[in-house]
């Protein structure tokens, strides 16, 4: 795999003396979608700012497209796009002007067809002549995305792209982002919606307190730490777990009225186990009234990890 961005030993101490990044090492591969997760104040925006020019790093090195970013930064920056976390742009401008401006600012010749394509894909074409301030919050965010895409970046940072975007549109945007990746754009996004990372990201990185805690392939992380949990409400309480069910490692809860199964991995093996368990219960003549089954999400894993760190 070819790295597109290599960050090593990146530190940032703000003017007030607060250290927001404590030696971040991170490599992003060409063509992947990378999700950066972490609680508020973890340093996600600071990290993005260091690459995109809003933040001056106090230490470390960054290489983009195989070149040191402190040399020839202009040609490297020209290939990087940024959708900021805050809705910040000239609100009195029209959508079309604003997006055309972004393209020109990055030194590209006007391309009305390309801009139309971008605006249509983001359902903004009908609003192209509207002032940005007259758009809804979700539309404004899409304008910022359109602005970032206007210069056709190879590497795109999305700092909470779907904050304030409704559920339906969010799915729409995921599809757009997937399309961008299919065109060869590498995407780094931050999000507080874990399902977003789970759904889209090839790899996830967890940052906390200015340090990268973990970077892993989304699927293998789910598989390694994913769990199936089944709560089976019994018709009549049990005093102990029957010997015949020992292999399932069940526990009794709620005064013997509930059987709890916890196991499997993120690949669905747990569900099959639960299906088998229900048959065994029937065979043993143990009646039940309800089954509540759920797969642990990246969110649970994330919370577990951070709590583990805190403990």
């Amino acid at each position: 795999m070819e790295p597109i961005l290599e960050i090593s030993g990146l530190t940032k101490t703000y003017a007030g003396g607060f250290t927001a990044l404590l030696g971040v090492d991170l490599t992003i591969n060409k063509g992947e979608i990378f999700a950066l997760l972490g609680p508020n104040g973890a340093g996600k925006t600071t990290l993005i700012g260091a690459v995109c020019g809003q933040v001056r790093p106090t230490g470390g090195t960054m290489r983009a497209f195989g070149q040191d970013m402190s040399h020839g930064w202009r040609s490297l920056r020209a290939r990087i796009g940024l959708v900021p976390q805050e809705l910040a742009t000239d609100m009195f401008e029209t959508v079309l002007h604003s997006v055309n401006y972004s393209r020109g600012l990055f030194g590209l010749a006007p391309d009305p067809a390309r801009i139309e394509e971008i605006l249509r894909a983001l359902s903004l074409w009908d609003k192209r002549k509207a002032q940005i301030r007259a758009l809804s919050g979700g539309m404004k965010r899409r304008v910022l995305i359109a602005k970032a895409l206007a210069h056709e970046p190879d590497l795109l940072f999305l700092d909470e792209p779907t904050a304030g975007v409704d559920v339906e549109l969010r799915r729409d945007m995921w599809a757009q982002i997937a399309k961008l990746r299919d065109r060869g754009t590498t995407i780094i996004l931050t999000t507080h919606y874990i399902e977003e990372a789970e759904e889209m990201a090839d790899r996830v990185g967890i940052i906390q307190g200015g340090r990268i805690r973990m970077v892993e392939d989304t699927r293998s992380l789910m598989k390694r730490l994913g769990r199936t949990e089944a709560h089976i409400s019994l018709a009549t309480p049990l005093a102990t777990v029957p010997e015949a069910l020992a292999d399932y490692h069940l526990t009794l809860g709620n005064g013997g009225q509930e059987l709890l199964y916890r196991g499997g991995d993120g690949s669905g093996g747990g569900k099959a186990k639960v299906a088998q368990l229900t048959k065994d219960l029937v065979a043993l003549g143990i009646d039940y009234t309800a089954i509540d089954i759920r797969e642990s999400s990246l969110e649970d894993i994330f919370v577990d990890l951070l709590e583990g760190e805190a403990a």
Partner: protein
């Protein structure tokens, strides 16, 4: 390797000019109205009672260069400052910082647009003046160059101000607190030679004196001291502003966190 991005520069310039045009009415009407009032009061009303004029020129005509400067300095400063202050204030500056543009593109784009607006304003004021006083321009070519130089210098000063300011109050205070008094005391309405010592020497420390003198020379072919000195002082001021801005961009002072 790219060292200068002409298209980015042009894009910034065009947008800033367009932004200025959105508020064209206020930004042109206000200074024109103010200048008109000055001409009516000082030029037509008071000036008509002064038979001798000043420095051999009719008083109404004498104040044209000074009044023009008064407007140019305060308008250039405030236009130059707003252009960069607003995106800092709203956070929209992120885009400029993420773009492949450096100090040259940014300056030519922003300051060029502010100076353009000043030039348009100067033209309107000069046309307006013809309704109230008779004046001629002895060295039109020099006058244009000088107005251009002054507009650019003070738009640069405004740019620095817009980066320094962290509130609207600070943004508004510099033109009111420094530029207007310095212009008034800089011989806008009188010849410095009329001042008794030691005030004349004190006045010589006011940089605006050289600007007023330079422009007056362009208009009337005579001034309190040589045009070369005025030109040199203005160029020096311009160079100082550019040097400060280059430093700001190199260190990221108040631009990058």
């Amino acid at each position: 390797m790219i060292v200068f991005n002409a298209r980015s520069t042009w894009t910034i310039y065009k947008r800033e000019v367009m932004r200025a045009m959105r508020t064209a009415m206020q930004s042109i009407l206000a200074p024109v109205l103010t200048t008109t009032l000055y001409f009516v009061v000082f030029g037509a009303a008071i000036g008509s009672k002064m038979d001798s004029g000043m420095a051999g020129v009719n008083y109404g005509a004498f104040i044209v260069p000074g009044l023009l400067l008064l407007t140019l300095l305060s308008e250039s400063t405030s236009n130059g400052s707003f252009g960069i202050y607003m995106p800092r204030f709203t956070g929209a500056i992120y885009e400029l910082l993420s773009a492949p543009v450096g100090v040259a593109e940014t300056l030519i784009g922003f300051v060029g647009a502010a100076a353009t607006k000043s030039l348009i304003l100067a033209a309107i004021i000069l046309v307006t003046a013809t309704f109230f006083v008779d004046y001629t321009i002895a060295h039109p070519f020099y006058a244009l160059g000088f107005i251009l130089l002054v507009s650019a210098s003070f738009s640069l000063l405004g740019f620095i101000l817009g980066i320094w300011a962290d509130s609207f109050e600070k943004l508004g205070i510099v033109p009111v607190l420094f530029i207007i008094p310095l212009t008034f005391l800089g011989g806008t309405f009188y010849s410095i030679d009329l001042l008794p010592e030691p005030w004349r020497s004190v006045a010589m420390a006011n940089p605006v004196v050289y600007l007023v003198n330079g422009l007056r020379w362009c208009f009337y072919g005579s001034s309190d001291f040589p045009i070369g000195l005025s030109l040199g002082m203005t160029l020096g001021f311009l160079a100082l502003c550019v040097a400060i801005i280059a430093w700001i961009f190199r260190t990221g002072w108040r631009l990058r966190a």
